[in-house]
């Protein structure tokens, strides 16, 4: 398969801030690539460089073999794109906005505009002025705009922002359909790991301007060990006991009266034995596959969608417990 997007040692800094530090990745034709990273990782900067809105300070960014800055006109014929917080002309209707952008690509195809409005579920509101649209409706219109001119590559920056659960579900189905039925290449940036996990063939994880990992999802998620959720009668004491088990890492669970344990080897029996021996009631011990979320946290050190922004304090030192 040929590469539609080629990013090679791309760097970008804003003043003293290094937004991108020699990142390299590519997107193969027909694949759905997830672009992951916490806020400030450099995702949007990368996408802006690909769209020809910024130019890199070093390295190259190409789409369809054309440099995104010096040969932008040719590169831009390959893709349609939506950026975070899409902007439209509020005084025009959704349909008129699409007409405006369609004219930039050539003669306006009214049939295609009607079909696109239908595709994104905006048929009924297409003739309303955009200033009356909700954020979710703007996102849908942005997707329709990106699909104008039948591009080979779709670049989506946080396309689920502002969408309700139904909208997110609908978007997922639509993107999967576009990828499978039309062979569209999709470059998809999102914070919603579940979306990326369900949609993408491959992911690139970006953190502080550097690529931390890239590859097929299956590979990324299989090499990272074991994870357990244990429902216990005394969380504090259980944490103390489990942390003493060789190779185990424990933290309070998100579910009440539970702890999460990770380890490189299967230590389920050891942990269960230690807890029971310490007199802690174990209601259940669930072994789960490593999810993308775990990989993401391990690579970036940033909790996903943490309701509290304050960092988790380090665990207090625990005296080792000799195994019996």
């Amino acid at each position: 398969m040929a590469s539609v997007v080629e990013v090679e040692r791309l760097s970008k800094h804003f003043g003293r801030v290094h937004a991108l530090n020699q990142i390299s990745f590519d997107v193969q034709e027909g694949e759905v690539l997830g672009f992951l990273g916490p806020n400030g990782a450099g995702k949007t900067t990368t996408i802006r460089i690909l769209l020809g809105l910024l130019h890199g300070d070093g390295g190259t960014a190409k789409i369809g073999g054309h440099d995104c800055w010096t040969d932008h006109v040719r590169a831009s014929r390959f893709f349609g794109a939506t950026l975070e917080q899409p902007g439209f002309y509020g005084f025009l209707s959704g349909r008129d906005n699409l007409r405006q952008f369609a004219r930039m690509l050539g003669p306006v195809d009214e049939k295609q505009i009607t079909e696109l409005l239908d595709t994104v579920g905006m048929t009924e509101r297409g003739d309303d002025k955009v200033k009356r649209y909700s954020m979710g409706m703007r996102q849908r219109l942005a997707l329709a705009q990106a699909l104008l001119g039948k591009p080979r590559l779709l670049v989506l920056d946080e396309p689920t922002n502002g969408l309700d659960p139904n909208g997110i579900h609908g978007l997922r189905i639509l993107l999967r359909k576009l990828a499978t039925e039309q062979g569209l290449t999709i470059f998809f940036s999102s914070h919603l790991l579940s979306e990326v996990e369900e949609l993408c063939d491959r992911v690139v994880v970006l953190h502080r301007g550097e690529v931390k990992a890239s590859g097929p999802l299956s590979e990324l998620m299989n090499v990272k060990g074991f994870r357990y959720r244990i429902d216990v009668s005394d969380v504090d004491k259980a944490l103390e006991v489990v942390r003493a088990v060789d190779g185990a890492k424990a933290e309070p669970g998100t579910i009440k009266d539970s702890i999460n344990v990770t380890a490189d080897t299967d230590i389920a029996r050891l942990v269960n034995y230690a807890l029971v021996k310490a007199g802690i009631g174990v209601d259940q011990l669930v072994r789960s596959e490593q999810g993308l979320e775990d990989v993401y946290i391990q690579l970036t050190g940033v909790p996903v969608a943490s309701p509290l922004s304050s960092p988790v304090p380090p665990a207090p030192p625990v005296p080792p417990v000799a195994p019996r």
């Binding site: 802006r48 769209l51 910024l54 006109v73 893709f79 950026l83 002309y89 405006q100 952008f101 003669p107």
Partner: protein, 371 residues
């Protein structure tokens, strides 16, 4: 080419759909000016209908008679002032005032000029309805207002897209930045041309009414090369009146283009409200400051010419038509009058306009949109 035409069409649609109320207000303003002129006509002429047409020679003779009466009045004022041991200054069109002797000399010069034109059968440019309309519509308060409005609209061209976040789509699509910028500048210019022509037509209709005839469009008309010197063979430019009108339209549109270039340059580097604020502050504030400076220089030197260098600043020469003939309170800083001053102002404007567009183009093609 088709993409460029599409971009221009987009600009027309966006401007009309977002700013139609501005154009409606402008049209209402033109009608208001027409009604105001008509009310003034009725008040002055004591009639509702057009007067009988008067030949330009008769107009000049009336003007000579009127000027002779003015001299008599000025002489009387001078004698009274001398009797009281004081001095009197009279208000001048282009400066803080003239001594009474200078005013008398100026009026005598006007009589001599009129007589020269009658003697040589040369029609003055002001004797044509269309020329008067051109001087009024393209050289005075109307253009002052229009250039500010066009400046405001142009200042939103790129800055508005940035504030609306539509610039990301605009610049990520196939049209090049050069095409985007050209389409915006061209559309702005065409829209302003239509508005200016509409203003000219409405005001021409009014002047034709006041003079009792639309007047000739093909006769020869004369303009002084240097309005401060006596008219004569070396100080008179003759041309068909339609050419004079085209010249005025061209000059007025160069002023508009200069403002649009400046606004576009500001628009390239700022957001919407900053661009509008800076543009309007420059267009309204700078001439005001310049007028104050011109006044101070006159007080120090006693000469109107001492502040003429201020006309190298673009905001003082945005309506160069006013310098062809000093009519209707043209406010150019310490301007002279006549074709020589007109040419100087056009050259000044051309340099500024080229500079503004060049700077806007250079900045826009390298401008990074970091969001």
């Amino acid at each position: 080419m088709s993409i460029l035409a599409s971009l221009i069409r987009n600009e027309f649609e966006k401007t009309w759909r977002s700013r139609w109320i501005v154009f409606a207000v402008l049209f209402g303003l033109f009608l208001l000016i027409a009604v105001g002129l008509y009310a003034y006509f009725v008040y002055r002429e004591h009639r509702w209908t057009p007067p009988p047409s008067v030949a330009w020679q008769a107009q000049l003779r009336d003007e000579i008679a009127s000027n002779q009466q003015t001299i008599v009045n000025l002489e009387q004022v001078k004698q009274q002032a001398q009797g009281q041991g004081g001095t009197v200054r009279v208000g001048g069109r282009n400066g803080p005032g003239l001594s009474i002797d200078d005013a008398i000399a100026q009026t005598q010069q006007a009589i001599a000029d009129d007589q020269y034109l009658i003697d040589h059968n040369i029609a003055p440019v002001q004797s044509f309805a269309v020329a008067q309309a051109s001087l009024f519509a393209l050289g005075g308060i109307v253009m002052f207002l229009l250039t500010r409005i066009f400046g405001w609209l142009a200042s939103e061209q790129i800055a508005g897209e940035r504030s609306d976040r539509t610039i990301t789509i605009l610049l990520s699509r196939p049209p090049s930045r050069n095409q985007v910028l050209f389409a915006k500048a061209f559309a702005s210019f065409l829209i302003s041309l239509v508005v200016v022509l509409l203003a000219l037509v409405i005001i021409y209709a009014m002047f034709a009414f006041f003079l009792g005839s639309p007047g000739s469009l093909t006769d020869q008309a004369a303009v002084a090369m240097d309005g401060a010197k006596p008219l004569g063979p070396g100080n008179l430019l003759q041309m068909p009146i339609y050419l004079f009108v085209f010249m005025c339209i061209g000059a007025a549109m160069l002023g508009v283009l200069c403002v649009q270039g400046m606004s576009l340059l500001i628009s390239v580097v700022t957001g919407r409200w900053a661009a509008i604020g800076i543009t309007l502050a420059l267009l309204f504030g700078a001439p005001l400051v310049s007028t104050v400076v011109a006044g101070i220089l006159f007080l120090i030197s006693g000469s109107l010419g001492s502040a003429h260098f201020l006309n190298y600043l673009f905001f003082n020469v945005l309506a160069p038509v006013g310098s062809v003939a000093p009519a209707f309170g043209n406010s150019t800083a310490a301007a002279g009058s006549g074709i020589n001053e007109f040419t100087f102002e056009l050259e000044t404007l051309a340099v500024w306009t080229f500079g503004f567009f060049l700077a806007a183009w250079l900045l826009f093609r390298r401008k990074q949109e970091a969001g």
